[in-house]
Symmetry: C2
Amino acid sequence: MSTVENQLADIEEEIEREVPSDITITEVRYEGPELVIYTRDPKRFARDGDLVRKLASKLRKRITVRPDPASLSRPEEARETVLNVIPDEAGVTDLDFHTDTGEVVIEAEKPGMVIGRHGSTLREITQEVGWTPEVVRTPPIESSTVKNVRNFLKQERNERRDILERIGRQIHREEMSDDQWVRITTLGCCREVGRAAFILSTPETRILIDCGDKPGADDEVPYLQVPEALGSGASSLDAVVLTHAHLDHSALIPLLFKYGYDGPIYTTEPTRDLMGLLTLDYLDVAAKEGRAPPYESEMVREAIKHTIPIEYGNVTDIAPDIKLTLHNAGHILGSSIAHFHVGDGLYNVAFSGDIHYDDTRLFNGAVNEFPRVETLVLESTYGGRNDYQTDQEDSERKLLHTLNNTLERDGKVLIPAFAVGRSQEIMLVLEEAMRNGDIPEVPVHLDGMIWEATAIHTTYPEYLRDDLRERIFHDDSNPFLAEQFNHIDAGEEERQEVADGGPCIILSTSGMMEGGPILSWIEHLGTDPDSTLVFVGYQAQGTLGRRIQNGWDEIPVGNGNGRGRGNTLTLKMDVETVDGFSGHADRQGLENFVRTMNPRPEKVLCVHGDESSTQDLSSALYHEYNMRTFAPKNLETFRFI
Amino acid sequence: MSTVENQLADIEEEIEREVPSDITITEVRYEGPELVIYTRDPKRFARDGDLVRKLASKLRKRITVRPDPASLSRPEEARETVLNVIPDEAGVTDLDFHTDTGEVVIEAEKPGMVIGRHGSTLREITQEVGWTPEVVRTPPIESSTVKNVRNFLKQERNERRDILERIGRQIHREEMSDDQWVRITTLGCCREVGRAAFILSTPETRILIDCGDKPGADDEVPYLQVPEALGSGASSLDAVVLTHAHLDHSALIPLLFKYGYDGPIYTTEPTRDLMGLLTLDYLDVAAKEGRAPPYESEMVREAIKHTIPIEYGNVTDIAPDIKLTLHNAGHILGSSIAHFHVGDGLYNVAFSGDIHYDDTRLFNGAVNEFPRVETLVLESTYGGRNDYQTDQEDSERKLLHTLNNTLERDGKVLIPAFAVGRSQEIMLVLEEAMRNGDIPEVPVHLDGMIWEATAIHTTYPEYLRDDLRERIFHDDSNPFLAEQFNHIDAGEEERQEVADGGPCIILSTSGMMEGGPILSWIEHLGTDPDSTLVFVGYQAQGTLGRRIQNGWDEIPVGNGNGRGRGNTLTLKMDVETVDGFSGHADRQGLENFVRTMNPRPEKVLCVHGDESSTQDLSSALYHEYNMRTFAPKNLETFRFI
């Protein structure tokens, strides 16, 4: 017997001792980080709500109980009973019975009502039919991403089960080394923004944190080829952890599977879906621009198949000597600070990913309380000594003022915006301003991936700011469903209609005007002096957005949509910039994050910022808080223990 | 054709263009770092002394010219001619003709006379017979190590030629990467003494510098298993560079071959021989102490077979982007500072190995002038704030005083000493003192490996201090051949005779009294109150030597030589300690080395010293010279470019 078999046999014995003698355990196995107990008496387990909790604390593992397939009622019978137990208001839209695992996946508009108070309805379902219920939300706005991901995972269920079992055995393997050390190797995003990638390693384990591209520099990818990363084989990686879905953190995650990686990706559920959306778009853009994409869309599916979603705050074993906990980072939907607890109290490292420290309309501010942290790896995008941003309240006032000016003169407002994050923040501003009568109620058209990204946001309200979540759950007033929001889904024809119509607001991708429907909107509205182009996000050097901000008014048009080539248009629109809507903490926010962090870390590595920003922040934190701080270069290794 | 074939074809064309048209080139190939030109006209090459120099500077390669085997006179004929050309006083002891390479290896007592002024005699030999002469010294004291190494290499000549060709092709392969970086990874000897090992890496190349054990801690070996080292396969290493033969730098070099390494070891010729001597002894000691040796003696032979000896000051290509130059380190015979020039003027790093900055009797002080050095990796054995040693002159006075006291009362002086380095230094002190009449002329008995180590020293006088070398070469007065030195080569019987005889001095291993014949001498002399035990080297914590220094006088005896077990002896001898004979620079020496270094490095990594020594030195160099200094931990990676 392998050591894992022995271990499982020991665990089974221990479980037998702990549970009442009338409960029969038929199998114990690992599935990813979870220990799955199969029993002929699922109803008995469901009756004793405390039993699983007691076992989990005794065994120090996350536990799932499933019915032995032999003990199950037939799906046709069970279906009716389940629907009877669940209140009608829950709005069940799908029931899917999996005879291999005894799970029934319930898709409902109001998952909370399927769960019941402290899980009482779920337990009732099991008591009645034996099946283990799993609940997912029916997206309030139909999302093709969410639908595709769910269908794909359903279809790959068998293979995924095998993958999870293999990963589970890896996680729970015996530790081999007597040595103790903890190291971080920087593979990207040091003294630069983009290509985030780090290795966290111990004698036992190697974890990759993030794997992004560098916008505007296709050839500058993370140093994956060095021996500390994949140079000694992709199989030498134990796990990948993804902090959030932005491409500078996620774009090259699928590439790992092309390189032979076959292990888990730990991230939140919304990040998984957004990663799917954004990486497929990334391949699309590469194809449109005639660049060879670094991997095929098949690899995106591999990445999704290997993703193990974890929720904020859940401590998860991801290796024999490493526990991972994700915490809200306040940056975009599902964005996380990844906290690693190494060994049995040996060392703790937190990777901030990208953070926003103050609350925004969309998200609570980043978490900065941890049980322990000795080293913090901190983003420094706005770490420079002068990187202070306008307060969001002032920015909003300025935005509303601009909107009113334009709408009053019957103009249209065109806002280039990133699909994920900033668009939804602006939507919330607009919805509230219209509700309060601060601006006129005009249609708000959403073009490009914005609608789809918004649909994903509405699928995961648990990840939104608490008052917004409350409003959605309890007042049943989801601002994203407000009727003024219109999805541009009929292409050029619809755009022409909008352009010919009355005053309105248009949010369109891409955020830096480097492609996407925004270029078409510029053709429609660019020569209209009553309309206004409003920038609400950072425009990088070299992009069309930055050039227009700098006063350029000869805009190349007609590229890529078939109508004439090489023409130019003389911009007559008003151009305004409203900053302060960044998803990143500014210098003050970064300092506040560290100052109020509990516990205060001993060491801080300032990364993900240009050279002067990381050095400024590193030096300021050192002088103000007397920590050991560093502004690492790429390809360095720091040892902590 | 492979790229190397193409390259060689191009080079051959270029050579054809450069040499006079009556010289026929038959083949051009790589052998290790050298480019070997085979010609039907070796005599023409020999006539034009400048031709090879011009080609070397044109091609920027080290060049050797060899006769095409077809153009050679028969060895029987050539032998007589060669012996006629060489003056009789050269003392030729062997001639060995190699028909495969056209080389004739000439072993002579006075190699200088075989070489002639600026190589004139060598050229004359080629002009007369066509063969390419190679000269080695006949050891003035017969050395079994030197004899065995030479015989072994002669016997493995064919395989070695294949190895050299393979290595040569590796060195001259095309560069693959557009990237540029230079990194050092610490695998051992950081914040500790022992297990020296570093990786120097670029996108192209990975070099291991040293690979030693840690005395007194058998289980603490360099971190070879990490991916930056051998974790991604031993074949990922391009080269190994050995600074010197002490076991804390060399002990695990043969282990690399057990792990599958098959590349070159660059070091000086005496270091190669001493490494052979010391690693074989290391295996011997392990066997005697009942420990499993980490490798078999076969691996020592592999290491010797893969060694490419290089001389101080010779710039050698060891990878497409790295040139190595070894410089005298003043520490032991053949000890080197390894200077790496990376890229075409990109970066320069020097690894000090172990250094002695001031001249000693044996060696010139360490070289600290380089064309360029940006980073220095500096030993810090005596880097602590109080690590100042007694001046050697004072130490010598104290030693002679102690000797005189003991010898005057007809006592014997027993000196435990390391075989390599300190023994020869003391021999020089004794020889001079006797020659000057400062101490009586008494026999000096050399026991253990000291005689053999001394024989190796006499084989390589080029590596000794210049005035000592001059004395040996020109005055023909080799102090190591002084008649008072006696080799204890008849074991216990001879020791008994010496113990029963008159006043004398005995130098014996091991230096810390942890084993070896010194234990037998203690049995013979330990109870004689007229005799004196004199410590001249560092006694580590936990060794018998340290315990005796601390006043212990109950000495366990009779272990290991068959005469009784478990007895103790009450020490009655005088015990004296004379320090100041260290092979290491003290704190002052280290500071002087850096202060007068030309050019002054930008960064210094202080290694090879305990935690406080490395930190003290790092901090002092930072404050005094405003350099960026570090006291790395093991397993860290520093990036310089």
